[in-house]
Symmetry: C2
Subunit: 337 residues, 2 copies
């Protein structure tokens, strides 16, 4: 009935004991951990909480993505949300949907990636849940220590400088290379950028002390800029020519028949930080990003008004809409779509 | 392309604003809430954290279950885990998978149920995530204030009395009535019991102060007793004749061609509490449960040894295995399956 080496063959109790072993010593703690229904986490007075999903067929494909990359990325997406709030991630619970035909080997490799990411950011995986399903899905809820000063999306003020950490476009270039089967050195770099993103926790923590608004680039620069504009009640004027393009995206633009800047503007799952900084704090912001090990590049400014403008850009910037299942124009305010 | 009234037609941004409205004032808070990537939650020094999944086709069927019942139950399952740890639930994040063809009306009704449960237990729904998928799935992570004294599964000692809150069997009877299309007054009561369970938060909080081990009955009494036996390194001797049978299960046993006690022993998703109590604290335990508004019934005792025994019972008690996709015998230690 059930094939050897599959999760159906292993059964729930065996899988739980394997997951407990894969998650290592951190998962076994007095007062509950993996295998218990509930974990106890040490917390401060204010705790950040976020959740993110990683669904097969939507966020990844098993045939394109090695399992350990999926495990890394599933956790990285949540870490990036904590980073954008200026927090430090602390503890996670992992709720998995698994098809009965999935191999235990795949799941093991998934946990190798997930735990590599957890260890890189000193996160304790304290619990989770396993459920049968028709596909693989990983829902992670992550806690973080809140910063002294909470920075959100609503604090941008006219005159602020808009800036971004790192370089953009690599993730989308990597995704397109995967889809189109493009190979080579640059494609490999872009694929890696797409599949093993490194959230900017250290930079976020420092930038939170000087920024007026901050968000992570998970659905594309223009999309995130629009969220800040809407929530802050301001306009964001971006200068596309100033957007730092990832070298792999620049190298692949011709092969992908895309403009390099267009790749940088529309690329999601970058997990870089988009920040708004009052002018007088710009020097402090650059130093803050440097302390976090990333460059900070000015890409525009905050103005009175609404929406996002792209100086000298005629094409429609695009953002991904989960439910339309397509990249679509984000030319109206988000609420009006 | 996309049908009117579906989540695909509404789009992600519109859905987010609807969810924000459905979740009410509690979701809109300074320092991030629904619509932000990350929420800020007030916490004490030690916080309980748990996660649970509610997957279409595994935990519910849209054709059997009204959407609001699913919403209630999705949250109730997580609350029950906090209750079993003696904690008080405080804040939740809700990560949803939604098929594009799902109607917004279904989702609205789902949130009506979820928020009814949240309000009943004073839980703030502080954030979440929406993802496209091929089916509906709801993954909830829930925080709770930790009790002064944490009770888990590993504290049972030989001589302890094993007891259960409330009455068992109603949930399984309700599920079987749904499957077989059985109608009538008792079936209605059992269905309600299956679909709108009320976790024992108040009782759990009081019982945690006197119990040596506690667990919620989510996969059946015998299954939970075995988990306590394994984790505590003891044997649990149950007296099936002493198990309190839910009146609806007793009334439906003949129609379902099942023994009423067998229903009570195997019924999952009861969300009653199975506790082990040192004999000298038995009176205090009964009073603690009464303060929580539920009866407490002794159903056995803890002994030296391993595993679960059922006095005067020849049949194999069964527990649900998610990955085998069937109810299967749990006659070996959980780890050996």
């Amino acid at each position: 009935m059930t094939r050897p080496g599959t999760v159906a063959k292993a059964g729930e109790a065996k899988l739980l004991s394997l997951v407990r072993r894969w998650c290592g010593a951190g998962s076994r703690r007095p007062g509950g951990g993996i295998g218990d229904d509930c974990a106890t986490v040490k917390t401060g007075a204010r705790t950040l909480m976020t959740t993110d999903a990683f669904v097969e067929g939507v966020h990844f494909r098993r045939e394109w993505t090695p399992a350990w990359h999926s495990g890394w990325k599933a956790l990285a997406a949540s870490i990036s949300d904590i980073a954008a709030a200026g927090g430090v991630p602390t503890a996670a619970v992992v709720s998995l949907e698994l098809p009965p035909s999935l191999t235990v080997a795949w799941l093991r490799e998934f946990y190798i990636g997930l735990m590599a990411c957890a260890r890189r950011f000193r996160i304790a995986v304290v619990g989770g849940n396993l459920s049968r399903s028709s596909h693989v899905a990983c829902h992670i809820a992550l806690l973080g220590d809140a910063p002294r000063r909470r920075v959100g999306r609503a604090g941008a003020r006219p005159g602020d400088i808009v800036a971004v950490t790192g370089r953009l476009g690599g993730s989308l270039a990597g995704l397109l290379c995967l889809r189109r089967g493009i190979r080579g050195r640059a494609a490999e770099v872009a694929r890696w950028r797409h599949m093993v993103p490194v959230p900017r926790v250290e930079a976020g923590r420092s930038l939170a002390l000087v920024a007026s608004a901050m968000i992570d680039v998970s659905d594309g620069l223009v999309h995130e800029a629009r969220l800040i504009a809407n929530e802050s009640g301001v306009a964001v004027a971006l200068v596309p020519g100033g957007v730092p393009v990832h070298p792999a995206a620049a190298a692949l633009a011709v092969a992908l028949r895309r403009d390099a800047v267009e790749l940088a503007l529309g690329s999601g799952e970058e997990y870089e930080l988009l920040v708004c900084v009052p002018r007088r704090r710009w020097g402090a912001a650059v130093r803050a990003a440097r302390r976090g090990g990333v460059p900070l590049t000015a890409v525009g400014e905050v103005r009175r008004g609404t929406g996002v403008t792209l100086a000298g850009w005629s094409r429609n910037p695009r953002g991904f809409d989960h439910f339309a299942g397509c990249w679509r124009a984000t030319d109206g305010p988000a609420g009006s779509r």
